[in-house]
């Protein structure tokens, strides 16, 4: 096997990164398949029991079909509408899972020799340390949340010690620039007005 050319490599990296940043939807797909297997297994079992003239496990298949046909008359309207709505909502949820992009909570770094995908929690953890250092507070006085395009850095200052908001913003901005992530993240630094005593 020869070395991959640069062009092949970038195509491979594009596919890898795309797969790492989007959900494969395996969990809902497997759940659905398991449900389908249970239903098919149940239908088969009931049919065999009926054929052998044995009592049904849950419902006799012929009874089930007959009562489905008679459904609008045999069941209370409110109950029927409510169960139908639940079924439709489950269906809607499945449609949304299938159609929405299914982005994972991570960001892509610059591709060089290697491709890089960083989880938002790892980004938040790094930014928290940067912000705590710039603010001169303990690591547990900074709370960072990272979303797709913005990050919120919340610093609670120690009572009586001022925190320079602009220097925290500058440090966080510099760290984000070094990370060079896609999509890019803009920081929002909030210094709590009330200080923490004993921190």
């Amino acid at each position: 096997m020869s070395d991959t050319t640069t062009r092949d490599r970038s195509a491979v990296y594009r596919r890898i990164v795309r797969r790492e940043t989007h959900s494969p939807r395996s969990t809902p797909a497997i759940a659905l398949a398991v449900a389908g297997i249970l239903v098919a297994g149940w239908v088969g079992t009931e049919s065999v029991l009926r054929f052998a003239g044995r009592p049904a496990l849950l419902v006799d298949p012929a009874d089930a079909v007959a009562s489905a046909i008679a459904l609008p008359e045999s069941v209370d309207t409110a109950v029927l509408v409510a169960s139908a709505a639940v079924v439709a909502l489950i269906g809607l949820a499945l449609v949304l899972v299938a159609v929405l992009p299914g982005r994972r909570a991570n960001h892509v770094g610059r591709t060089g020799r290697t491709a890089l995908v960083v989880d938002n929690r790892a980004i938040a953890s790094a930014l928290a340390r940067t912000a705590a250092r710039a603010a001169g507070v303990g690591a547990d006085q900074v709370v960072v949340s990272v979303a797709r395009r913005v990050t919120e850095v919340r610093v609670s200052r120690s009572s009586g010690w001022p925190v320079d908001e602009s220097s925290v913003t500058a440090a966080v901005t510099a760290e984000l620039a070094r990370l060079d992530l896609a999509p890019s993240i803009s920081p929002r630094v909030i210094v709590e007005r009330r200080g923490v005593v004993g921190a």
Binding site: D3, R19, P24, V99
Partner: protein, 176 residues
């Protein structure tokens, strides 16, 4: 990074979802609107309510259908998440062949990174992407570690691995 058929997953979820929406909507409409109820009774009344698996033929058809559904769904489940490979490099020659196992890469790279102070844990696995063997290096950084510094360190280790291997396989680094 694995070879899961994502389009198929989406198609299955979409199809089942649409069927459930249609089913729920039809039942709700039939229950609420009297004129729709008439449609329901017409259609349902036309069906043969004497479905009866006590006939051997009916039983065979039902069982066969159930079996096909179960087998297809099992195949569908088993095919999720495949695409691992054990072979990183394979070079054939007239008088023999060289095969480099993924475990060689995993052992070397994990050993090189495990002692780094910013690394909590690291695991390396091999995949086949577009017919090309590729490595995934999953790094768990310690709390507060800078991903950019860690990435530089991982890249240095990968370059040493490239020299060992004599070729550059695609490498994905994840930090989570």
């Amino acid at each position: 990074m694995n070879a899961t058929n994502r389009a198929l997953n989406r198609a299955v979820l979409l199809t089942v979802g649409l069927v459930l929406v249609a089913l729920g909507g039809a039942v709700a409409a039939a229950a609420l609107v009297p004129s729709w109820l008439a449609v329901w009774t017409d259609v349902a009344g036309g069906l043969d309510p004497t479905f009866d698996p006590s006939q051997a033929m009916t039983l065979a058809i039902v069982l066969g259908g159930c079996l096909i559904v179960v087998v297809l769904l099992l195949v569908f489940i088993v095919r999720q998440g495949r695409g691992h490979t054990r072979t990183m490099v394979q070079r054939g020659a007239s008088d023999g062949a060289v095969v480099v196992d993924t475990r060689v890469a995993a052992t070397l790279i994990e050993a090189a990174l495990a002692d780094h102070p910013d690394v909590a844990s690291v695991s390396v696995s091999g995949y086949r992407v577009r017919g090309v063997p590729a490595l995934k290096i999953a790094v768990s950084p310690r709390r507060g570690a800078s991903p950019s510094e860690l990435r530089d360190e991982v890249d240095r280790v990968v370059e040493r691995w490239d020299e060992v291997l004599g070729s550059e396989v695609p490498v994905l680094v994840t930090m989570a």
